[in-house]
Symmetry: D2
């Protein structure tokens, strides 16, 4: 039995409005409904909301943390990874996820979106703060996950070289 | 429902003898029997053997890879992490695991054992190639996992600072 | 005698037009004229042009490389650092530089600009490909370095937190 | 004019006895006398003593720091690199140096020695705490640097593979 579904990254700010959190939660639910594995930064805000949504539907969640302690992951993370590399862990999130969905976001999210595009990963965005050429902007969580899966099916799989 | 069990690292060479592989496989089985999550480097040799053992008993496996592509994880890894950081990923394995079990090993394993001790993690070894003060040498896979769990219970939990 | 001048990062694409290279070269010269240390990614394009300019006026150059081999630095780099961490080395450039100047640029540069702003470093841009709120756009290399030094003097020194 | 001499790493504990510090200082002097660039971890103990020695004879010093702030380098470091990656920065020291000299040392030093041997770099040791096959133990700072340079000349240059 193969456990591994598509690895879908969800990126966004560590604190966010209730409206953005609700979108992130729905993104997490849709990922789980499609048997995807949620990959995120493991902290609060968008990361916690998306992981909460994924767990509500029985999905698996991976949290790639900036700090040294797996105990600092939010409570919805099944598999915390303690990088102790601060923002350099963003590069690991972007490499590990096969496609990324940004929800809202700040400078950190912009940095991840740009890095994902740089290495050839597809990026879908809900309510982006910044406009980046190459990012697919969608209006709803359902469309975000549908579009992310379509990007994967279209062969925009992980780049193998930097 | 809390998925997270103790995170137990298994470290060892990327290629190994059948005898060492059999020990690693039994270590993986014992980890799964104790509801632990296996954390390893995701490649071959000891890493693949331990992950195979863990999957035989339904355990979860995390593989923290040196390269850029989750597809390069061995077939027994449920959750591959693509660090693209070569040997620097060893530091992430050592941080993420709450306790470590070395099986056989080479210079890379010695490097991980030393780093684990440096940051206060317990290290248990089966058939070590190198003798390092502070490492608990045990004769069997069962004793390795029992000793690792005992080290955790004794409060030698993850160090929070380097 | 204190060797250390201000550490000024120059970021931009690994290949670029002659026009962008000329701008980068002039930025490097201005940094050296102001006794700054040039910090860059150590490869070609904007990085090599800026380092060439700095060396023409006797400045020091640091190249933080994505690969494993210091021999891959461009010929104008005095102090190559071999991270072997691919794009994660961008985070090290942004941490090490006290202020950053982007020249032209692509997704990789955008990623660095966003990360710099995220951790509180000032960013000045010449001929940016992308518009990012918070980045100071300037028309000439002289103004780029003058503005970068002014940002430093104004106390926008390196963020200390992780 | 080519600035770049051989890049020689000096590794050892962040605090040490006066006797070990004196050895490290002499190692730094010998490196500078041979026009080498000293690469170290940038902090105290052996790192500061070796950098002090190198500066006494006008050598250049690079400090690859575990933290986020170049201001935390010891006062003898010309070129501090802020990795903000804790012990994972050890892998960068080992990659950047073409050959390594360990002075005294603890678990962190052992980790670096093992990693260096793993990737094919020569390692020379003065007063090692741990015995590692493959490390050349020498009695004096002069012999340490002579042996390190001989290892380089013998073609044990930086490994290129990841």
């Amino acid at each position: 039995m193969k456990l591994r579904g598509p690895f879908i990254g969800v990126i966004g700010a560590g604190s966010c409005s209730a409206r953005i959190a609700a979108l992130a939660c729905d993104v997490g639910r849709e990922i789980a409904r499609n048997h995807g594995v949620l990959v995120c930064g493991g902290l609060g805000g968008v990361m916690a909301a998306a992981a909460k949504g994924a767990k509500e539907l029985g999905g698996y969640t991976v949290g790639i943390l900036p700090g040294p302690n797996i105990g600092k992951a939010n409570e919805y993370i099944d598999f915390p990874i303690a990088t102790n590399m601060s923002h350099a862990r963003n590069a690991i999130i972007v490499r590990t996820a096969e496609v990324l969905i940004a929800v809202g976001g700040s400078y950190g999210t912009l940095s991840e979106m740009a890095l994902a595009l740089k290495i050839g990963k597809g990026v879908v965005a809900l309510q982006p703060q910044f406009s980046v050429p190459g990012v697919r902007i969608v209006p709803t969580p359902l469309e975000a996950v549908t579009e992310a899966l379509a990007l994967l099916d279209a062969g925009r799989q992980p780049a193998v070289f930097g």
